[in-house]
Subunit: 430 residues, 2 copies
Amino acid sequence: MARHTARDLRSENRFEVLHALFELGPSTRQELARHTGLSQATVATLVTEFLSGGVLHIAAVERNTGGRPQERLTIAPDRGRIVGVDVAETYVDAVVHDLALDVLSHAEVALDEKENDPGYVVDGIVRAVDRALGADESERERVIGVGVSMPGHVHPDAGVSVFAPNWDWHDVHIEELLEQRLAIPVYVDNPLKAVILSEMWFGVGNVVDSMAVVNLGTGVGAGIALDGSLIRGITNNAGEWGHTLLELDGRACRCGRRGCVEAYVGAPGLRTTLAEIDPGHPTLRQPRQRDFVEAVAEGLAAGDPALSALVLRTGRYLAAGLGDLVNLLDVPHITLTGWASEALADRLVPAVRDELPHHVLPGSLPGLTVEPSQVPGNAVALGMAAFTLQRFLTRLGLASPARTRPRPDREPAGFGRRAVTVPSPGPDAV
Amino acid sequence: MARHTARDLRSENRFEVLHALFELGPSTRQELARHTGLSQATVATLVTEFLSGGVLHIAAVERNTGGRPQERLTIAPDRGRIVGVDVAETYVDAVVHDLALDVLSHAEVALDEKENDPGYVVDGIVRAVDRALGADESERERVIGVGVSMPGHVHPDAGVSVFAPNWDWHDVHIEELLEQRLAIPVYVDNPLKAVILSEMWFGVGNVVDSMAVVNLGTGVGAGIALDGSLIRGITNNAGEWGHTLLELDGRACRCGRRGCVEAYVGAPGLRTTLAEIDPGHPTLRQPRQRDFVEAVAEGLAAGDPALSALVLRTGRYLAAGLGDLVNLLDVPHITLTGWASEALADRLVPAVRDELPHHVLPGSLPGLTVEPSQVPGNAVALGMAAFTLQRFLTRLGLASPARTRPRPDREPAGFGRRAVTVPSPGPDAV
């Protein structure tokens, strides 16, 4: 059996300590050890490493009666900046965070759904990052990394978009293309992994350790955490719930299969359903997906009966797909996220809840919660920022094996020792 | 967030050491620590505990140049007996194992599919266990536990069959009923958990750490392991792949929903499909499910065209359902087990493989293996025996917190300090 390597373990331990710092707020080493289940020695080593990299600072020193003084540690927000980028079929949203993952600024750039050239998409990402960082050059110099969520099948270690059906991309070396333009270390991953990390750290993960986050947009999918572990799958392709069956030989899906959940509850699927209900409905004249979904939300508020029927049918489809998730994985909590969910949740969630008893096995129904995600802001961008921080800490650890504490101002701004592939910016760099 | 308790961790550590002993064979403490990733101190403590309980013995002492003598440890097969019991809709198979989980004997008792009284089913289990143990009273006295797999939703900690749709059982206290009759500690669980444990320990778990085992019989389901962890779900109900959708509003399923995978690929589903292909087919006259499936296998061998069509359609249904499993969880390996799989795998597996490319996302297809399980014997009974051994070791640890080593012949035969609910056998006990 393939076992975790010692290096995996060290990386996981860093992640656990980081997560505990976000969950507990300013904490002592003892509290971190108790919360993570790691040994005091392991926590002490990692804290020393984080302090030496300037990532943590000592918020307070407490003197208990008789005992040694206890240092209370917290993340140093101004040690650097992290940009989390949500790249969807129709837009790029770049969000600048400090090291405590608080949002400082963001910028959105629209993408033309019809364009699929990697250069066009890279250009959109670069423009969004540049706008979000603004004109202050010193802010840009403080960026330790850019985490970019790309739709489709992504291999984070290789930095490659393995397959993006919306653009018909195969093996696009997106990390390298972006690092050439940005001259900042880039980490790429898939939005489903980003939204589940956000939910685990900043959403219902504070009360449950098994959950799914269903992302509704042009494409749909589910981020999954079981027993506190983010489920990636063997090729980082887990969570493609959108490409599980709702109906064998049903509607054509853009993945090539027929009858997938996405063909019913993705934004284009909503359009298909509305056309079945009322082929002449004026909302169908909205050519762009986000405009279409916004128009549906407005029409619902105005009491349009065809749109009410659309919500009821979509609620049934969604409940059927969520029923499959629950019956297979027995998760107690499902949250909905993504732009389509944000637009429609008020009406869609009650419709889903009404239908769930027809699709969930009786043993799992009483403890099941389905609700809109409470993660603040753009959960994809936030999750990508958290992954990027984790990678930075891992590289920091690799770069400073000794436990000596160098002066923080001598630490590199980027991913430790790692060289950016092409050090000079490309010809189009801003 | 709900964290693992220290007690969970100790129990998991015992399981890891036990697994390593099965995987490595006779091992030194150092080898066990290296293989499990546990500290030398933790392994040494657990080994002391296992030795004191007589579960391990020292197979050899090796003297390396200069170093301390190294003890090579192995499971003591004759420390006790464990009965693993596979209770299905149509039969009970009780298998007697030694402590090394080698099979010593077994006995099968048929169950009438129409009978649903708990007393009838308990009686069948007791008869199978008694027959498997035979007339030698000293064998019975050595039994440390009976692990019983029950179909449906089972809560192992409470020993309760929460819901068994085949018998319309709700909250049947099966563990207590059986302990009253057998006067031996009983552990109950669900067959999906048993088959995946068998696969992890004695099947493809030696080469992959994420996999699914699809169990085909009257009911169907999937045991799931991800990154080396058995997936139970929040109520022990994970793996109900048989109750995920193949077709919204499709065939009625006995769970009450329509269109579930089970309604197409469970044994009654095969009968429905054959009736669609050829309503007058003579095989349909077989009233009992196992006879029907055996007759299908014989007819296939004789070249019956309607039965060939049945296999092709069933292969397509099965590939569609497996495609959902792979697309959602990105597992690289699926094995098929269960009596219906054993009867039909020769013809069914090639039919499934032909259809998989139409249902699996392209990124996951190249690394995907689908094959009959190579776990020897009854994988449900073997997995239940392994769970029972694990529970025995946990109780042993709780019963002997001190590190002193009592004489093995003074150790209780059963689950450490735990009292059997009703110490005297019930009136019907054999």
